[in-house]
């Protein structure tokens, strides 16, 4: 295999595109040698991240775009998500206190926790008015 293979998908910021994102991940991660379990994990992590961008960075504004870039190397897959929406914080990722949330009828906070649980490295940067999120999965994880 080549040292570095990339694939790109740009979607409008609508949750109706989440299934396309999952299919895109599944297709390329499968072709590039990831196991079914790893693919399931990557797919869920990216779904959660894209959902957060749609809801929190873009507030469901479907005219906005999310760029998704997959970078496969011999050791890992890195997924880079770029949006030019509002800066939003995703730096807390403790396991949600389910019992408390149920009592208060609160949802949320679960996506971020899942992303950090399912991927090996997750980072966020804010650059030139854009949110850039990168999350990587090692082939041997």
């Amino acid at each position: 295999m080549k040292n570095r293979v990339t694939y790109q998908l740009d979607i409008s910021a609508s949750t109706s595109n989440l299934s396309e994102v999952r299919n895109f991940i599944g297709l390329h991660a499968g072709k590039n040698g990831f196991s079914e379990k790893q693919i399931d994990e990557i797919r869920l992590a990216v779904d959660e991240a894209v959902t957060n961008i749609i809801k929190h960075a873009y507030k469901n504004d479907e005219s906005k775009t999310i760029d998704i870039l997959l970078i496969f190397t011999p050791k890992k897959l890195c997924v880079k998500l770029t949006d030019d929406g509002k800066n939003f914080k995703l730096d807390t990722y403790e396991r949600p206190d389910l019992e408390k949330q149920i009592k208060q009828k609160k949802r949320g906070g679960m996506g971020v926790y899942l992303i950090h649980s399912l991927m090996d490295d997750v980072s966020y940067t804010r650059d030139n008015g854009k949110n850039k999120m990168e999350m990587c999965k090692n082939r041997n994880s």
């Binding site: 609508s14 949750t15 109706s16 989440l18 299934s19 999952r22 399931d40 869920l44 779904d47 959660e48 959902t51 749609i54 809801k55 396991r95 949600p96 389910l98 019992e99 949330q101 149920i102 009592k103 009828k105 609160k106 949802r107 949320g108 679960m110 996506g111 926790y113 899942l114 649980s117």
Partner: protein, 116 residues
């Protein structure tokens, strides 16, 4: 979207929701509407059969979190059954099995409700 559907049926007097397909931030509202309908009809003993549920994201889990307290305060419960391993793993990662009845088969849920 055709990648998710929820159907309601009644079995031994209990309300059963059959989930098909992929439950994500786009399709979660369909489940939410179905649960709200049941609760509005004062149906509080609810079984959610997940045998044809192929995928779940946290937005789907959020729906179960939002309504469990309502049905339990009415003396009922939402019991989840027939999950495949992949879907169960997501519930498990977030600690759902200690707070929700997740059962192998729909008949187990019916027995649990009947034998109370």
């Amino acid at each position: 979207m055709k990648n998710f559907s929820v159907k309601h049926r009644t079995q031994s007097g209990f309300s059963i929701l059959d989930l098909h397909g992929e439950l994500d931030a786009h399709t979660a509202s369909q489940l939410e509407d179905a649960l709200k309908d049941l609760i509005n009809q004062n149906r509080s003993e609810i079984i959610v059969n997940c045998s044809n549920l192929e995928y779940i994201a946290s937005a789907g889990l959020g729906v179960f979190m939002a309504y469990i307290e309502d049905v339990r305060s009415d003396g009922g419960d939402i019991k989840l059954t027939n999950m495949n391993d992949k879907v169960y793993n997501v519930f498990d990662l977030l600690g759902f099995p200690t707070l929700y009845d997740i059962l192998d088969d729909e008949s187990d849920a019916i027995n649990n409700f009947s034998n109370r």
